[in-house]
């Protein structure tokens, strides 16, 4: 299989160091590629360049071998797109919006639309303005998937969805992948990307800083732990673990950061009497700061 998306030196310079710079990326056909980065990192700009909604300052992007800008109409025949921020579609009903946009594509299967709407528990008979944020997002998902595209470009697709609908969405995503679709999805939630992606690209301040497989991603993954012990905490044992940092003790409680695999950490603390344990996923920005600070050191 070839590459579904290839970008070469793709740049959109908004001035003042804002935008996207020299993006060189290849997304293989059939894979689920997560595009991870904090808010304002350049995820949406990348997606809008791929969709030819904004013009590149320099560089190029191609989708299935077609220039994304010059052949954008051909490209969009095989692409399903979910924007990060949904349009204001006012007075039209959900079913009217679907019908109107489906009319622009010859390959929309009405039964498949109904299946998607039913699975997402979306009533298409209601007016768009009456939809909650979650329902608007579901409509966006239906519009992106309705023609069974070869490539799905999804900008923060689970934003606004409740946990149940998130699971439904992941299931729909897996089925699309099983059909052979390539999926490029942006997110700022690491656990979401871990749940569905094969590979991940990490972008920060407009530059791609890492492309990694899920295994490599584990390195990046870190949790902030707080453990309450019944007696003295096993500080010495924790101190020798290579992936445990920032250990702070206060009486019988310990706070620390665990990077990657937690198995050794769990076994170590289990030797003492653990009264309570909380694990918190830090924000992506905090994680990046930790990761790159570590990298620099």
């Amino acid at each position: 299989m070839g590459d579904a998306i290839v970008t070469v030196g793709l740049t959109k310079d908004y001035g003042g160091q804002k935008g996207l710079f020299d993006l060189a990326l290849a997304v293989r056909e059939g894979e689920v590629f997560g595009y991870l980065g904090p808010n304002g990192a350049g995820k949406t700009t990348t997606i809008r360049l791929l969709m030819s909604l904004v013009r590149a300052t320099r560089g190029s992007a191609s989708i299935f071998g077609l220039n994304a800008s010059a052949r954008s109409v051909d490209v969009k025949r095989v692409v399903g797109y979910l924007p990060g921020e949904l349009a204001q579609l006012g007075g039209l009903r959900g079913d009217e919006i679907v019908a109107s946009l489906a009319a622009l594509r010859p390959d929309v299967d009405r039964a498949f639309v109904a299946e998607l709407a039913e699975r997402l528990d979306l009533d298409l008979g209601r007016r768009y303005r009456q939809y909650s944020r979650g329902n608007k997002q579901k409509l966006g998902i239906v519009l992106a998937f309705m023609h069974r595209p070869r490539l799905l470009i999804l900008d923060e697709p689970t934003s606004g969805l409740d946990p149940l609908n998130q699971q439904t969405f992941y299931a729909i995503l897996r089925e699309a992948r099983e059909r052979g679709a390539t999926i490029f999805l942006s997110s700022h939630i690491l656990s979401e990307v871990e749940a569905v992606c094969d590979r991940v690209g990490i972008i920060r301040a407009g530059r791609l800083v890492k492309v990694a497989g899920l295994h490599d991603l584990n390195e990046l993954h870190q949790r902030r732990m707080e453990i309450q012990f019944a007696g003295d905490p096993p500080l010495a044992e924790l101190g020798v673990l290579a992936n445990v940092d920032q250990i702070e003790a206060s009486g019988t409680s310990v706070r620390c950061v665990v990077r990657g695999d937690v198995d050794a950490f769990v076994r170590t603390i289990a030797r003492a009497h653990v009264v309570g344990l909380t694990s918190e996923e830090p924000s992506l920005e905090e994680m990046f700061l930790g990761y790159y600070r570590g990298d620099a050191g």
Binding site: K76, Y81, A87, Q88, R93, D95, A99, D123, L143
Partner: protein, 541 residues
């Protein structure tokens, strides 16, 4: 909160102030141009005014600058400002709901009552400022003319206009509580406005209606005489208007308190079973028809307005021409009236309908509709609809072409509706218009809309917000210039700056290829630039 609400009224305030100043400028200049003929002109106008009391109140003291301004100026301005009232009222009550701004205000701890009161205060400030600017212009111009109108008299008349405008603002607020969309609320409020305006007008001639004319705010405004010298002001009528406006605002506050955000006062029935299939409506298979379908409520209001106005002008022609014939045939004011109404151009009936309807109001109407479409195109981009559309395999140039086609289709329908109004008006007058020239006059309205659409389509690529204001200015100026030139005895070329002048008077003169050529060339150039701009520019918020 008031400051935030004021921001929503700034540009409309500037627009209406400019409109008021332009109109006042025109009228004071028109009065000045009568020169020594003022006394005979007053007699002529009083004769004409009696015939037209179903559209405008009977004149008072037309032999004075102030009386002329009160009758012709503020008598029309009150209707225009009332329309502003319903636009602002429905914005405050419904558009903020639709945009989620009401949620934000309430979440910030602002009470519903305060939201409405802040909007009402901001609107009152904006209207007062616009009226103040117009009054100052009138005072200055009349002083230059040598017959100064006291600022206090202008202020009193402005208070009357303010009272009616606030009342219609309150009606707009109330409409927003019972109709679920801003456009729907505006349509309902507009129907109420037109209904009350007509009730007052017709009650002046039909005794049967005079018993219920007290329902119309315009009936009270007719009895407000701040300007006409020696006529009592009618403070009681102003008090009634302010009281009813306050009562309607109170009702709107109570209704807003009682309803859910996003809902109406009326209880919704139980929702039916959920729908999961796409709609089968054939109109949605084409983007052109989808655009028309999406604006069906607004378009219906446009149809009703155009049908009524075209019928009204055609119906007006006969009594006007008879009244004009009964005036002093050779005096300067009658000659001027013939010129500014078109009655002196070719056959009087054709001349009047051709100028008053086709070359003025119909051109203004289609230009206005085109401007609303330009505003819609600009918001397509900022509100993400264009992005969604371009996610489909649709060339950017096709978007521009489809917009132009949707505009052409809607204007064609407007022109057909105007045809019906003219046919009815002509039948009532037992008159006849040349069918060939009528068809040409109607068809020529399409490129007029195209000019505004084309310029708008091109300009929205660079300055979307500014474009609508500039186009509105161009339309208003195009409307006024042909009237202004004979009145101020301005240079011959002055009316040629008007887009409507390029349209000409095809109902009297027939088809003139050069006019059609120029209009289509400007429209074509505009849309061509729009295609190029659309292909090059970035899309999105």
């Amino acid at each position: 909160m008031v400051r935030a609400a004021l921001r929503a009224n700034v540009w409309t305030g500037v627009g209406f102030a400019a409109l008021g100043v332009l109109y006042v400028l025109f009228l004071v200049a028109a009065y000045a141009s009568l020169g020594a003929d003022r006394a005979s002109a007053a007699r002529d106008l009083e004769t004409l005014g009696a015939g037209f009391s179903f559209i405008i109140a009977l004149p008072q003291r037309l032999d004075t600058n102030a009386g002329y301004l009160a009758w012709f100026g503020y008598g029309q301005l009150v209707a225009v400002f009332s329309f502003w009232g319903i636009v602002a009222g429905t914005y405050a009550s419904r558009a903020e709901d639709e945009r989620g701004l009401s949620d934000l205000w309430l979440a910030a701890g602002v009470t519903r009552r305060r939201i409405i009161l802040a909007h009402a205060t901001a609107f009152a400030i904006a209207v007062s400022a616009a009226l103040g600017v117009a009054a100052a212009a009138a005072a200055a111009l009349s002083a230059i003319d040598g017959e100064p109108i006291p600022l206090s008299a202008l202020a009193l008349q402005s208070v009357g206009v303010l009272a009616v405008t606030l009342l219609f603002f309150a009606i707009g607020l109330c409409a927003g509580q019972v109709v679920s969309t801003r456009r729907g609320a505006l349509g309902v409020a507009a129907l109420i406005l037109v209904g009350l305006f007509l009730l007052d007008g017709f009650s002046r001639q039909w005794d049967a209606l005079s018993a219920i004319s007290w329902v119309s705010p315009f009936a009270y405004y007719d009895r407000v005489h701040g300007l006409a010298p020696g006529v009592p002001f009618g403070a009681g009528n102003v008090m009634v208007l302010f009281s009813v406006a306050a009562g309607a605002m109170l009702a709107a506050i109570v209704a807003f308190d009682a309803r859910d955000l996003g809902a109406t006062l009326a209880r919704h029935g139980t929702a039916g079973p959920p729908r999961h299939l796409p709609a089968t409506n054939p109109a949605l298979r084409s983007q052109v028809f989808t655009a028309l379908y999406d604006q069906r409520v607004g378009l219906t209001v446009w149809f009703l307005a155009i049908a009524w106005q075209s019928f009204f002008i055609t119906r007006l022609a006969d009594p006007f021409l008879r009244a004009l014939a009964s005036t002093t045939a050779n005096d300067a004011s009658a000659a001027q009236l013939r010129t500014v109404t078109g009655a002196g151009h070719g056959a009087p009936f054709e001349g009047f309908v051709g100028f008053e309807w086709f070359s003025s109001l119909a051109c203004l109407g289609v230009a206005g509709y085109a401007i609303t479409q330009v505003a819609r195109w600009a918001s397509d981009d900022t509100e993400g609809r264009l992005e969604l559309l371009l996610a489909a395999p649709l060339a950017r140039s096709r978007v521009v072409v489809q917009r132009a086609l949707a505009l052409a289709a809607a204007v064609t329908l407007l022109v057909l509706v105007s045809h019906i109004g003219i046919a009815l008006g002509t039948a009532v007058n037992d008159a006849r218009l040349d069918p060939g020239r009528l068809a040409v006059a109607s068809a020529m309205l399409l490129p007029v809309a195209g000019v505004f659409g084309g310029i708008g389509a091109a300009a929205t690529a660079w300055r979307p917000r500014l474009t609508v204001g500039l186009l509105s200015g161009l339309a208003v100026l195009s409307f006024f210039l042909p009237f202004l030139q004979p009145v101020i005895r301005g240079p011959e070329w002055l009316p040629h700056l008007s887009v409507f002048d390029l349209y000409g008077t095809p109902l009297s003169d027939g088809f003139e290829a050069w006019r059609f050529g120029w209009l289509t060339a400007i429209a074509g150039a505009g849309f061509t630039v729009a295609v190029v701009a659309m292909r090059c520019r970035d899309i999105g918020r």
